[in-house]
Symmetry: C2
Subunit: 331 residues, 2 copies
């Protein structure tokens, strides 16, 4: 029987792509200054690094129920900027390819572009171009370019480093449970949770500050889910991690108490949360905290890098393994 896209899944297709590309010399991934896999790619030019990122928003699979077109546009920009933020880059330009069905409402397209334009203004990233094509369903393929003097890779963590996150987790997983109609929440709590689902923000200032200072040893955007991200950093760096404290948001904690849920599920196995996960050299932890405060950001230590390859959460005395589960397209 013939293999299908859904047999491979998003990650299987990505593996297939890199396997085919690696056969061809000039397409060699090693020519990039930030080797695959990482949050973005990079080329060197005139002594600086030029970072490039593409990420696509497909309405049918990526828009949670109730999301306005304005927020879809906004989120497409955020998704792409968050990866540049994680690598410490200053965004320079954004382009997008808009795929739109013939019968699509012009007003909704306008809303979408308004969301892109507003986010572009909010984050100071000019939208310089793009293209429009006919498609059976709405998609926005985003393309961001940025620059950096040095980038933080996924692969630099060493035993002893502090594992840290730029904000608490759990709101999005709770919000999606509400939107899927599985669970409910009081109006105020519901609004707080859904705000994170509909209008996430990238950690641009904090990301640049920490990369420039050189006090972080590895980094990755957390949008694939916290457990997945911790595992990927550990795998790339050839280390293990012990997570001792749960970075749960107050709203997610309240939600988990109302429904007698284990908050660790919301925190570790969500996704679509645009925090950055860092490892920080132990002797520069205080400095990293100060720098974060100076740009109005947060940095929460949640554990440490250890020898080995296991990623575990310390629940009291017990070491609970954190598998690299996360959302995957086409699976």
């Amino acid at each position: 029987m013939e293999m299908k896209a859904s047999d491979l899944g998003e990650r299987g297709i990505i593996d297939l792509i890199w396997r085919v590309l690696s056969v061809h010399g000039s397409a060699d991934a090693r020519r990039g200054a930030l080797p695959h896999p990482d949050d973005a790619t990079a080329v060197r030019m005139n002594g600086s690094l030029f970072l490039l990122k593409s990420d696509t928003f497909v309405k049918r699979t990526d828009a949670p129920r109730g999301m306005r077109h304005q927020d879809m546009g906004r989120k497409t920009l955020v998704m792409n900027l968050s990866d540049l933020a994680a690598k410490g880059a200053e965004p320079l330009a954004f382009l997008f390819s808009l795929g739109v069905p013939r019968g699509y409402s012009a007003k909704r397209i306008e809303g979408l572009v308004q969301g892109l334009a507003e986010a572009s203004e909010e984050y100071g990233v000019p939208i310089l171009g793009g293209d429009v094509c006919e498609s059976r369903e709405l998609f926005i393929a985003g393309f961001a370019a940025g620059r950096a003097d040095r980038v933080v890779r996924r692969s630099g963590a060493s035993p002893g480093d502090v594992v840290a996150v730029t904000g608490p987790f759990g709101d999005t997983a709770a919000g999606l449970r509400i939107l899927l109609g599985r669970l409910v929440a009081p109006p105020k709590l519901r609004r707080r949770l859904l705000q994170k689902v509909y209008r996430p923000s990238p950690r641009l200032k904090l990301g640049r500050k920490l990369a420039e200072a050189g006090c972080v040893t590895s980094s990755m955007d957390s949008s694939d889910g916290l457990a997945f991200t911790l595992n990927e950093l550990a795998r790339s760096s050839g280390v293990g991690m012990k997570i001792g404290s749960l970075p749960v948001s107050p709203a997610a904690l309240e939600f988990s108490q109302i429904h007698s849920l284990n908050p660790t599920d919301l925190v570790f196995f969500g996704g679509e949360e645009y925090e950055i996960v860092y490892t920080v050299a132990r002797n520069r932890w205080e400095e990293a905290l100060e720098l974060s405060g100076a740009v109005g950001g947060r940095l929460m230590g949640i554990g440490e890098v250890v020898e080995g390859s296991r990623v575990v959460y310390l629940e009291g005395e017990r070491e609970v393994p954190l598998p690299p589960k996360g959302w995957e397209h086409l699976k």
Copy 2:
């Protein structure tokens, strides 16, 4: 009644996008070093220009009958590189977003990536990244980045300049008539015509050479059709054009004779041909010809830039207006 995407068409949606973006200060198109509309966009970095381009291949609307997946991958790269070539840029990197239906054959996806990888090798442009998502139909959103010390705009033509093209036209329009089953051709002629439909090439070396030398005053990739391109260059530069000679390919001429077609239709109103249309300063025409020959390219003078705003073809004594007709998505 509510306005729909198909009421606006591809160009109407692009106008809508720029109207919305121009309301938002930080998204201001003028911040780009190559203002809209042009073949690509550009940002300045460390004294160089970094050019960015996005263009999407949607299988349902963009793949002519009989096109192999390998050639679809190849063409996606060519479409994007051709615009960089027209602006005189050296391509640095290519990324792509692949949208794929769940049931799509893994073998075909592999073919597609092979075509991308082969073109990447052929043109020396590394493919550095991308993303994969689920979609109702196959699309490849391509993103190319390049650099240049100076770029050629659409807007620099002056009366007296020579209008020139980098190769003959008509093969693609003839080939598409064959594929649509409307007309036939003997096997050898058919192969020659379809080769241009399935496997176009960008004029990278020639494009860089002419831009670097500074002997061209304006330029545009001809993929929207020759008449459309001439009109767009004239409009951007605030000039008119008189086209005195027809750059018809021998194969297209043969095809038009077999079917008693007017070859001007094939030449001017085709599309998907990846030549560059230039205007060249009259006193540098000989130099431009020499430079073209030196990189193994061609440059064919077809007319001249004139005062006014009319774009006409001189058929004997008669001035035939060339309207800006061309292929448009969503119309």
